[in-house]
Assembly symmetry: C2
């Protein structure tokens, strides 16, 4: 299978980076094709604006969706967007590896989402959910949290499914992806070396059989 993994963590020695590199090695070792984007290393610029495009339909009144439809016809997407769109279109499975920042994705990943999934190419009128452009593809969130699992309940932070709901339902399923069970590592700062190794081993094992999910 063709797997695309996006990493959003500022520290290359982090457990997020370890999960990312473990995934690459496990998948490649199992004979899958892997492409990646390391958002911090590639210095991805997450602010969505006129710079998304090499030229504009209407430079005096910026309407992003109008420009996205125009850019599709005129081949006017900036190179940083185009290369990411190609990886999404190429893959069978997309994995996002990130730490939960304020109960959502870090801004650098939010900007990647804001810029990459353009109207006309990834969704359109009537082309969402079961009719989305990404139907047949799978998506998997791999998330670390600072807080302990016991806090992820309704009368505290909220359940993890309610926290991830806008991402699962509003982004991934909206685009047509089938959402796999997310990988959640709670209290990442409190794990000892033995626990970290066990988690990495389980992650590798799961991914080597990702084609069966």
């Amino acid at each position: 299978m063709k797997i695309f993994i996006v990493l959003a963590h500022p520290e290359e020695k982090s457990f997020n980076a370890a999960l990312f590199h473990t995934a690459i090695n496990a998948l490649a070792g199992a004979g899958h094709e892997v492409k990646t984007t390391n958002l911090y290393i590639s210095n991805f610029q997450p602010v969505s604006d006129k710079r998304n495009f090499t030229h504009l339909k209407n430079a005096d009144y910026f309407k992003q969706q109008e420009e996205e439809k125009y850019a599709l016809r005129q081949n006017a997407f900036s190179p940083d967007i185009l290369s990411e769109q190609e990886k999404v279109q190429w893959c069978d499975v997309m994995i996002w590896q990130f730490p939960l920042y304020w109960f959502s994705v870090p801004a650098i990943l939010k900007g990647w989402i804001d810029k990459v999934f353009t109207m006309g190419k990834f969704y359109d009128n009537g082309k969402i959910y079961d009719n989305g452009f990404s139907v047949g593809k799978k998506a998997l969130l791999s998330v670390t949290t600072g807080g302990p699992q016991k806090n992820y309940v309704a009368d505290n932070y909220g359940s993890i499914s309610s926290i991830l709901f806008p991402i699962h339902r509003g982004i991934l399923e909206f685009l047509g992806f089938s959402v796999l069970q997310p990988k959640i590592i709670y209290s990442v700062e409190r794990l000892d070396d033995k626990e970290r190794k066990m988690i990495l081993d389980h992650w590798a094992e799961r991914l080597m059989n990702i084609d069966k999910e």
Copy 2:
């Protein structure tokens, strides 16, 4: 009252900008003090990393929360963060004006959140929710959507309350804010001039009485 309004929209002619300027005028006209941040105009850099700090406790292994606690003691926050933190601490009511991008805040606002609400200053162990640093302050989301109100139901996009839940519960209430009823403008692109004027008038009227909410 002291009101702090944050705007996150790339187009100064947008309806979001009109709502922002209407709010400033209405509040100032009613005798409230107003401070603002216009994230696109101020070219806010939303990627959270080592640049959040003027110097680091551990430059070889970046742990954001550790650095945040260190920066509080050592006065090591970057100027762009410090000036925003001061506005949050100053205000009685905080308003975020933004278009819903992929069922959440635009990346430029997500990065503002990721960078500004630092550990030790805005939350800490045991200092969240009813014990948060922002207890006594109010927060209000003012949001425009592309999609129509009828799509915001459980078997489609999801209810607006479930979409805003991670922001209301995971950010604002977590910090101690009391969350006011959000202002939601659906299908913003389809509004005619008369509807826009009516919405702006209602918004001004609501804000002139914000002290009673």
